[in-house]
Amino acid sequence: MTISAALASSLAAGRSRLNARVAETRRRHPGFDTDAFATFVGGTVDGLVQAAEAVAPERVHALAMTACDLALELVAQHLVGPAARQPWLDRLWREVVPRHARLLADQPQAVLGALGNAVIQLGQWPQVRVDAWLGWMAALADEVEDLAQLRALGQLLAWRAGMAHYRRGALAAAESLPAKLALRALEAGADADWPTLRETLLANPWHGADDLPATGVQIGTFSGFGGPFAQPPELRVGDDGFLVRSADRHFLLLGDRCGAVLLPASAEEFAAASIREVSAPEARVDALGWPEGCISAFANAHTLALASPCTHAIALFPRG
């Protein structure tokens, strides 16, 4: 494998330090794959180094050492490399981080650490669109000026990728973003007014859901297929979302125009939630194609949720 002169020079300068750390990691993680580490450094880390060299050659060594330290950790934990538990970190380092070369060169630990952690978090939610998040983060890189904007943008896009429980926090964090960047992140028209849009999204989680599929936002599959539900879920209405029971497990369901998430809840919360059903709109039932007659429908101020003993899925729609 051929590596760039900049990386070769950094590795030579940090040889003894790096060797000690590799040895320490091997002791700590007996299954540590040195070949995978070498491949990752020679390919992915080299890409970062070359990107940084183009904008700040004086920062290359610091970046290379930081990236190698993090690479050791990522390879040891099987987060990158051929045995990686998820593909997203490789893509992050190859496709997204080099686009933020200036920030990367200035603050390598903060950029690599924060974005890496974000991808690991997003990858833990099966219904979240991590690939879309990576694509958006790369596409908007040119408009990000500093680390604070990068973090706020990542949060806003995490909500857009399906982290429904981050809606309020992400919109609050996005207040600090330039209007143009925030509007692009949400694919709103350039003539839209960002403060107004933000307030509207805070008030109505389904605002702008015009292109929602007829089957709504769906979540939940049978646990035998890797989903969260061992039995078809039962629904109830809570103050801030829906309470769900499936077998002996309980969840809080939150959903909006960007997606839905299931969070852990307790039996007591489920028992305390309202059991008042509403009538299921015929058009929604028809679109779902679920057997009629046994569909249960619950609604809060903004959201209608439909469930059926014939399926492990729950469908969410804007109310009204």
Binding site: R21, E24, T25, R27, R28, P30, A62, M65, T66, D69, L70, L72, E73, L74, Q77, L79, Q107, Q109, A110, L112, G113, A114, G116, N117, A118, I120, Q121, L122, R151, G154, Q155, A158, W159, M163, H165, Y166, R168, G169, A170, A172, A173, G238, D239, D240, G241, L243, H250, L252, L263, P264, A265, S266, E269
Partner: protein, 528 residues
């Protein structure tokens, strides 16, 4: 430049995750950037709740410092998988909730409550190493902790332990006040370690007792006031195998006893890693888990604020009532106790042989040679609260008490090996397994408590609660009614001929209430 600290890493994940109530849930979008990778701005665990910080310390020690695979403090959330193993069909449980290693947890609870912990076990099992970790946890450099550790040996003098008068002052002093004392530095530390305390000569043990119990040292009329501190003592053999017999008062000052269990060779790879890397865990403790003096003060206050539900307190009362009664030891009701028998110096077997009226298998009191002291109960309450606090709870649960009780009473409740209970083949192991026996004893007590339905049917408790409301405004008629009720209850409870510990304490309590009402009645009459 990044910090590369594999052994110094503290998990960012919550150590005791639980579903947060919907009503109080906050979804912090900043958590998106939390994870296994350092962002360089974590800083210290400032603002971390102290119970979480102590759990972080626990898990860091479990994962990095002490290679201890024994999870002997078991908690379950729902059914646990159990297996009967071996010819003895002993139960192996795979707990369904977060369980703990007593060898690490008990010293940490001692640290948070500033009590006294004794490590026992064979040589080379990590007793001293664990004690040193506690010193480092309090923020002292490793070297300072090592230097301050007192090593018991047969020639240990008062000067070795406490300090020396300055030689120049000794020669020129006109009075004791003129003699300055060079106190030993360990006296001022917040963590005190006495290694092999059972090798200390008896006279020096007495000086140690003063420091341990009264928190000051005295020499030539000079007094050194020590700060509140956690104590860790080690002994290779708790049963008197040291060079000197440990004086009883010193043993009694020890709050919890932890046994260093054997090393599981299946963990030899971890040991090999330790040897090859030359890592000394005590030198690598992450700064995030170090406790300042203020932290420990605050933790102590939080622990005391944990509530003990009344129902649980009643169970503890019932348990401790089992042991003090010895009907054959006294002729007066109040003196029918094991303490009376012990103070008399008479042969124990004479008392037990005369005690032929009761079912000595069923009576839990027959299994012990003594009862529980006030100090034992106070320690038990504090450690039960500490256990609940460590688990992130605001209220003590029955399981907290059940798990902590054997470690507190290990050396306090002395079994009577001649009791019929220990003669049964299925109880043979309890002769050597003190912890198992104590937990079994508590389980038996709880079963009896449930059988008697004392949670719902406790007339003595009701009378006590009524009395606790106060005497102000009670008229003579009401007082007489209550006195009559007490007398009626005593008559009822003594109708059977058998006397057991809880009944004995109930009767003494009724006598107390009767006396208080009688005195009040006399006062009412006199003040007319």
């Amino acid at each position: 430049m990044s910090g590369f600290k594999l052994f110094q890493r503290v998990s960012r994940a919550p150590t005791n995750p639980r579903a947060v109530p919907v009503a109080t849930r906050e979804f912090d979008v900043a958590s998106l950037y939390e994870g296994p990778l350092s962002t360089g701005d974590e800083g210290e665990a400032a603002g971390l709740p102290l119970d979480e910080k102590l759990r972080q310390a626990y898990f860091w020690i479990v994962n990095n410092a002490v290679i201890s695979p024994h999870y002997d403090i078991e908690y379950n959330d729902g059914a646990a998988a159990t297996f009967a193993v071996g010819d003895s069909r002993r139960t192996l449980t795979l707990p369904s909730a977060q369980s703990y290693s007593s060898f690490i947890l008990l010293p940490l609870l001692t640290f948070a409550t500033r009590r006294k912990c004794l490590f026992v076990g064979g040589p080379g099992r990590g007793k001293t190493a664990s004690a040193i970790l506690m010193g480092v946890l309090a923020g002292y450099p490793v070297k300072e902790v090592r230097r301050a550790m007192q090593h018991g040996h047969p020639q240990m003098t008062l000067a070795d332990l406490l300090g020396n008068p300055l030689p120049a002052d000794l020669a020129s002093a006109q009075s004791m006040d003129d003699i300055r004392i060079a106190w030993r530095s360990w006296l001022g530390m917040r963590v005190k370690i006495i290694d092999e305390y059972n090798r200390i000569p008896t006279r020096t043990q007495s000086a140690l007792l003063t420091v341990m119990s009264d928190n000051y040292a005295e020499m030539l009329d000079h007094v050194y006031e020590c700060p509140e501190s956690a104590w860790y003592l080690t002994a290779n053999d708790d049963q008197g195998g040291g060079t000197y017999q440990v004086i009883e008062a010193l043993r009694d000052r020890i709050d919890v006893i932890v046994q260093a269990l054997s090393f599981n060779p299946r963990f030899l790879d971890e040991l090999l890693l330790r040897v090859e890397s030359g890592v000394r865990p005590e030198e690598m403790m992450p700064p995030e888990i170090i406790f300042s003096a203020e932290d420990i003060d605050a933790a102590g206050k939080q622990i005391l604020a944990v509530t003990m539900p009344e129902a649980l307190r009643r169970r503890l009362e019932f348990f401790s009532s089992q042991f003090e009664l010895m009907e054959t030891a006294g002729s007066q009701f109040e003196y029918m106790t094991k303490d009376t028998a012990r103070l008399s110096g008479a042969d124990w077997h004479q008392f037990t042989a005369a005690d032929n009226g009761r079912d000595r298998l069923k009576d839990l009191g027959c299994q012990t040679r003594n009862g529980l002291s006030v100090r034992n109960l106070m320690t038990l309450l504090v450690f039960a609260k500490a256990m609940a606090w460590f688990r992130g709870n605001a209220e003590v649960e029955l399981e907290d008490l059940r798990q902590i009780l054997p470690f507190v009473l290990h050396d306090k409740l002395q079994p009577d090996p001649d009791a019929p209970f220990f003669a049964l083949p299925e109880h043979a192991a309890f002769r050597s397994d003190r912890l198992g026996w104590l937990r079994h004893l508590f389980d038996l007590s709880n079963a009896e408590y449930d059988r008697l339905d004392l949670d719902r049917d406790d007339p003595v408790g009701e009378l006590s609660a009524q009395f606790a409301e106060g005497l102000d405004g009670l008229d003579e008629h009401e007082v007489r009614k209550r006195l009559s009720k007490i007398e009626h209850l005593v008559e009822q409870r003594t109708a059977g001929r058998k006397l057991y510990g809880p009944l004995y304490d109930d009767l003494l309590k009724l006598k107390y209430l009767h006396q208080r009402y009688t005195n009040y009645l006399n006062w009412l009459r006199a003040s007319r």
